[in-house]
């Protein structure tokens, strides 16, 4: 059961037991095919647990070494694909996969419940959630929706990935690059975003200012008329450029800031505020 589950869903945490050691040329070729199928939206036929686990890990490493933006796109497409698979699963499998993200998951009132702390890591909007006494309750559809975002988050998580790769993997990454559509490269267009102050923020700011920096960029994106998707690319570059510091500023945090600003598009932009926050001189 475990092997079958990992073959279908190699993002599960116990997939690392199947990865094995060493990377052969065949492993790299397979991983390139695996990642390029995803970008070309070709159907992927899952094989065994070891192969799928290795493919996913190598794809993430190669893509992240080129750009965090590539990894984010890949995570988005892959999560959508895995979520489609989960829709066809029975409740037992759904429960098992979900338990990997929400260890406190239990059946409750014909649906599910998880601890608030678990929910905060991978759940959706808390204000809309059914929260009571430190537990969050949901039905199957909500759980599936949460899972899709959780899978995306886990695949795009770059905290433990290194951008510097061994030679053979780096060379494979270059081969993979040919299969990635060019229009994924972020376009920093717009009046505000082209200003030197914003360009400097885009290069990353230090700990204690990263949140303010992300707010400034998000507001600039709204004011410059970027779509939410385009703004995501800008934010992703910023998050990648920010120093990790004592506590990393994550892509999810950047996305959350964008979500908030795009839900409140009338928010004003002020260089004086940037000055008071120490973002510009």
């Amino acid at each position: 059961m475990e092997q079958k589950l990992i073959a279908k869903y190699p993002f599960l945490s116990f997939s690392k037991d199947f990865v094995g050691e060493g990377v052969s040329e065949t492993d790299l070729k397979d991983a390139i095919t695996f990642a390029s199928e995803c970008f070309q939206h070709d159907e992927h036929i899952a094989r065994d647990a070891a192969r799928e686990s290795k493919n996913l890990l190598l794809s993430r490493l190669m893509l992240y070494s080129m750009s965090a933006n590539f990894l984010r796109k890949f995570a988005f497409f892959k999560a959508r694909e895995y979520a489609r698979g989960l829709e066809k699963e029975n409740e037992k499998v759904l429960f098992e996969v979900a338990k990997d993200f929400f260890p406190s998951l239990e059946n409750a009132d014909g649906g599910f419940k998880v601890s608030l702390i678990d929910y905060l890591q991978y759940g959706r909007s808390l204000p809309q959630a059914n929260v009571s006494k430190g537990m969050v309750f949901f039905i199957g559809d909500d759980l599936r929706a949460c899972l899709r975002e959780a899978i995306q988050e886990r695949i795009s998580d770059s905290e433990k990935l290194s951008a510097k790769l061994p030679e053979n993997i780096a060379a494979a990454a270059l081969r993979l690059k040919e299969f990635i559509p060019r229009d994924f490269t972020p376009q920093f267009k717009g009046k505000l975003l082209q200003r030197s102050e914003l360009q400097n923020i885009l290069k990353g700011v230090g700990e204690g200012k990263r949140y303010y920096g992300s707010m400034a960029l998000a507001i600039a994106c709204v004011k410059d008329g970027l779509t939410r998707e385009e703004a995501g690319d800008v934010m992703n570059s910023y998050v990648t450029n920010c120093p990790k510091g004592a506590h990393p500023f994550t892509p999810r945090e950047g996305e959350a800031v964008l979500d908030w600003v795009y839900a409140h598009p009338t928010i004003g932009f002020s260089f004086n505020v940037l000055k008071s926050q120490g973002l510009v001189d």
Partner: protein
């Protein structure tokens, strides 16, 4: 505003020193925190660390800072710099409220507004309810900020691991969701308006109870007041029993979304609470040490049992004599004050005030010291 007048500053600091000589501060996990102190502003310098509370108290006795803060974060090396070298180990979850969530009609006192503080206290009681009843948090530690509001500290291990994003979600929950209804597919018609049911929990449940009670008791006139027009209101009233049954199932289609949205807006206005999100989201925040004195008021940042919050009064934070008028001060502006005592003072007219009021005005930078205690 800081105390700028040299003699006033020396006097305030001397009084603070006397207080700290007789009061011990106790900071949880003191050896893991970074400290910041100030005499002229909230933080003149930071990156200080203490191994024990005894060391911390000795520092207070020797230096009598006007402002004292500790990091919500715990570090392996709290005095290391730059920040990266401290080695982050997690951060307390902190909420800070220092102004009323909503504006309200009142005569606002620019120096210190007792009415605003009353509203903040009410909002703080709501925060305690959310933290305990909704989030299920145990060990909520509350303290008066020493000035305009309250701080709430959560220090359990699992909470200290929460990301900034998770903390943002918690602050947004306190404010409440923007909307609580999902309109049907058919454009322009609320054919399948879905909302909370009696089985919903969280904000949805709170609103369900509120709206259900309103509809159950509403007269035709009250329905009209909320936006239902003419015969719609009458029909709605006649079919009330059926409407309530459908509401129980989460079906709200028997009135336009606009009508329900108006009721929801009113509910959210009464129940949402706005905290300073920057404080909650900043994992490296320095925040006032509970029990310490506030350099802008001379009041103590008193720890308050969450259950005793309703009884908390500003006078509970007064640590210097507020009775007898013992010192002379020179007001820098015309002053009307309700707290620490009721005062009406004229600019540049020397006057006698209590020690508590004198310190309060000096700390606010609104008066300077003329003559210290008569029996000194």
């Amino acid at each position: 505003m800081a105390v700028e007048h040299a003699e006033s500053l020396a006097f305030v600091q001397e009084k603070f020193s006397v207080f700290y000589a007789n009061h011990d501060l106790s900071v949880p996990d003191v050896h893991r925190r970074e400290f910041g102190f100030g005499l002229h502003k909230k933080i003149d310098f930071r990156h200080k660390a203490f191994r024990t509370n005894a060391e911390l108290n000795a520092y207070f006795r020797q230096n009598a800072p006007l402002f004292a803060s500790y990091s919500t974060a715990l570090y392996e090396f709290p005095d290391a710099r730059p920040m990266e070298k401290k080695v982050f180990m997690g951060s307390d979850l902190v909420f800070d409220i220092d102004k009323p969530t909503r504006d309200f009609a009142h005569e606002h006192n620019e120096i210190f507004c007792v009415e605003c503080f009353g509203r903040v206290k009410k909002d703080s009681m709501k925060i305690v309810d959310y933290l305990q009843d909704d989030f299920g948090f145990k060990g909520v530690a509350v303290n008066f900020s020493g000035n305009k509001g309250f701080h709430f500290h959560l220090r359990s291990q699992e909470i200290r691991g929460l990301s900034q994003d998770s903390r943002r979600q918690l602050t947004e929950y306190l404010t409440g969701p923007e909307s609580i209804f999902i309109a049907g597919e058919e454009k322009g018609r609320d054919t399948d308006l879905r909302g909370p049911s009696e089985k919903t929990r969280g904000w949805g449940k709170k609103f369900f109870d509120y709206a259900f009670a309103f509809i159950e008791l509403a007269s035709v006139g009250e329905l009209k007041e909320k936006g239902l027009r003419g015969r719609n209101a009458e029909e709605f009233f006649l079919r009330k029993k059926g409407v309530l049954e459908l509401m129980r199932e989460g079906k709200w289609r028997f009135a336009p979304k606009k009508f329900w949205d108006a009721i929801y807006a009113e509910f959210k206005n009464e129940n949402g609470v706005g905290v300073d999100a920057h404080v909650t989201l900043d994992l490296a925040r320095l925040i006032r040490i509970p029990g310490s004195l506030h350099g802008e008021t001379g009041l103590a940042a008193r720890v308050v049992e969450p259950g005793r919050l309703p009884e908390f009064a500003l006078r509970d934070a007064v640590v210097f004599s507020a009775g007898e008028k013992t010192i002379n001060v020179l007001p820098q502006i015309d002053i009307a004050l309700d707290f620490p005592e009721r005062l009406f003072l004229k600019k540049n007219e020397p006057c006698e005030v209590s020690l508590a009021s004198g310190l309060f005005l000096m700390c606010k930078g609104k008066a300077t010291l003329l003559l210290r205690e008569k029996n000194w």
